[in-house]
Amino acid sequence: MSTFIAITVSGVALGAVYFLIASGLSLIYGLMDVLNFAHGVFLTLGAYAGWAVAAHLPAALPNAAVRFLVTACAAALGGAAAAAVTELLLIRPLYGRPVSQILVTIGLDLALLGLLLGAFGSNSRSIAVPSWLTQVTRFGSERIPNGDIVAIGTGIVLLGALTWFLRRTRYGIIIRAGAQNREMVRALGINVGRAFTVVFTIGGAAAGLAGLLNAVVFSGALVDPTQGDQLLIFAFIVVVIGGLGSLAGSAVAALLVGLVQTYVSFYAGSGSGLGQLGNMSVVLVLAVVLLVRPRGLLGSTA
């Protein structure tokens, strides 16, 4: 029983990381019709930003929690900065040409991945994290890894924050309106271009955070250049299963994919000689969902 609970928590934590990535992808797609292939590199850049800052933190900061918070902020800022620059320099000149926008993010992914591989090689770097993160906490008889708790907590906070942002703030309302009818919003004299930059930056920040959390919780605090693109494919699957452009759909699908992947690779993957069965099962889920509901779980039926 305790194994099952540990596996479940780990699956939910993986789902939380997927949600951090997929929420940005989904928001960007919903507003701009751009599927951002460079999101994986934002992830990796965020993780490297976290690594760089964690390595240079002054020893005067004794509190482990504060140190990790600074590291996490650096990761989010790194992802956000990369995303904002991308939007301003590469996406903005291509407004009105969605296919070109997708292609330019593919080119950016290729170029930045090459640059990262050139700068860091294929060797992993170890992020300095407080030891508390790699320990477990006892809940009654259950032992839950602290890293999983942090990942799940971050996912829940982001879901709440994004929901509040989209429903209650001026920009959130512009973003939701823009997703429904961009031309009308523009006609009302609202600068949709700025909303594009905001959405890209938020997505980049969430991706940077996801890059750090994935490295810390699922990769033994190691970061390497190709990590982001491996995760990105699953994030794409999550976005399509949830329904392109739907934040709630992304949350549900992220949880589903994280759990299915973790359960299958734990219960079926080890015995059958197919170590990748967990990854393949996710593709199967995608195929089934699309056969039953081509628009995704919560996608709009336009």
Binding site: L108, A111, I233, V283, L284
Partner: protein
């Protein structure tokens, strides 16, 4: 997409168009008119250029003169094994890119799983030859048959969605295949380290160092066949429907045609070309490794080749692929030169990564020359013609 199910009950009188009436209506939908005299003249020039290029490349292995600097091989001799192998790779990817252009450039469907069918070509032939010890012909026949069935089944499933979702579904299938290959089920694929091709049952002409010349010609023959197939199909009635689907799928439906079948045909044909390219790749390179023949980076490369050359043009895709593969190999060679390795790190690190340079070139093309190399050539041609014709560029 209930239409797919509903089709079964639709009247069978609506058959595939054979007559000229639909084709004429379709040619009104698509911008290019095949009967225009200017187009004919351009086609004739194109055929001449193609024939000359074919003769030059066909005779290349017989020429043993030296060209300094520009060759990707370690020796500066034109028909050295290294150079011929790189050129063979160029031809293979040119053919595969052409197949992808059929789907993306001509039918307007962005697939992200093209590598799957290439990997089937490489791996199934390799397994049949090296693990089951089949002869070459049955191995190739099995591979092509399996590639066909897989493309029909997965294509039919993927086509239930369109646009970005289609790209994602094809990506997911390709990724599943990658995991399967990396998993090494029953020791068939060799996992991450790959599977070296057994040459025991291969014909003598394809084995050994002297065979590079034959394999080069085989790769060239593959490109010629792929070009012929793409040419014939894109100029056929089905090709007109593909173009029409690219411009507006709804209008094609209004004309009484079923886009699904045409899209599936485009998908299957494009996949078969990729599978055939995979077979030739295996024979040329002699080994199959998941990172170089099954990972998504290969799909990205193929897409970059097509867009770089100019999506929706046949020769553009070919030139784009040749430039891409050649540059990739050549830049690797340059990065290993002693005068290069002594450069300062901020300059050396980015320049030693072909992916960075190719990605940067690709971005510049998208921003400033969305028609790719073919679009640039068209612009130059229009410039020479005196800029009287207001040439309409089909961007993005």
């Amino acid at each position: 997409m209930t239409r797919v199910l509903g089709r079964r009950g639709s009247p069978s009188a609506r058959t595939t168009p054979g007559g000229g009436a639909v084709a004429r209506r379709l040619s009104r939908l698509t911008s290019r008119d095949p009967a225009a005299p200017a187009g004919t003249r351009r086609t004739r020039t194109g055929v001449t250029v193609l024939a000359v290029a074919l003769v030059i490349f066909g005779l290349l292995p017989l020429a043993s003169f030296q060209i300094p600097w520009v060759l990707p091989g370690s020796v500066d001799v034109v028909n050295s094994a290294g150079t011929l192998e790189v050129l063979g790779l160029c031809f293979i990817f040119a053919g595969v890119a052409l197949g992808f252009d059929l789907l993306f450039g001509f039918t307007g469907m962005l697939s992200f799983g093209q590598v799957l069918y290439f990997a089937v070509g490489v791996y199934l032939t390799d397994i049949a030859l090296s693990v089951w010890h089949w002869a070459l012909l049955p191995a190739v026949a099995l591979t092509m048959a399996a590639g066909f069935v897989l493309a029909v089944v997965l294509g039919a499933i993927s086509l239930r969605v369109r646009g970005i979702a289609f790209a994602m579904v094809t990506l997911a299938f390709a990724q599943a295949a990658y995991y399967l290959i990396a998993d090494n089920p029953h020791g068939l694929t060799g996992g991450d380290s790959g599977l070296v091709m057994s040459t025991v049952r291969l014909p003598a002409q394809l084995v050994g160092v002297v065979s590079t010349r034959n394999l080069y010609w085989l790769a060239l023959a593959f490109l010629v066949v792929a070009y012929a197939v793409v040419w014939l199909t894109t100029e056929s009635v089905a090709g007109r429907v593909w173009l029409a689907i690219r411009e507006s799928e709804q209008r094609v439906e209004v004309l009484g045609l079923r886009p699904f079948r045409f899209k599936l045909a485009s998908f299957v044909l494009s996949s078969l070309i990729a599978t055939a390219g995979g077979v030739v790749y295996l024979l040329l390179v002699g080994t199959a490794a998941p990172s170089s023949v099954a990972s998504t980076t290969v799909t990205v490369s193929i897409l970059v080749m097509v867009v770089l050359g100019g999506a929706g043009t046949r020769w553009g895709a070919v030139v784009g692929a040749m430039v891409y593969v050649y540059l990739q190999q050549y830049l690797l060679k340059i990065a290993a030169e002693p005068s290069f390795t002594s450069l300062a790190a901020p300059l050396r690190v980015p320049l030693s990564q072909p992916d960075f340079l190719l990605g940067a070139i690709f971005i510049l093309f998208i921003l400033f020359a969305p028609g790719g190399i073919a679009g640039l050539a068209g612009r130059a041609r229009a410039g020479i013609a005196g800029r009287f014709r207001g040439g309409k560029h089909i961007g993005s």
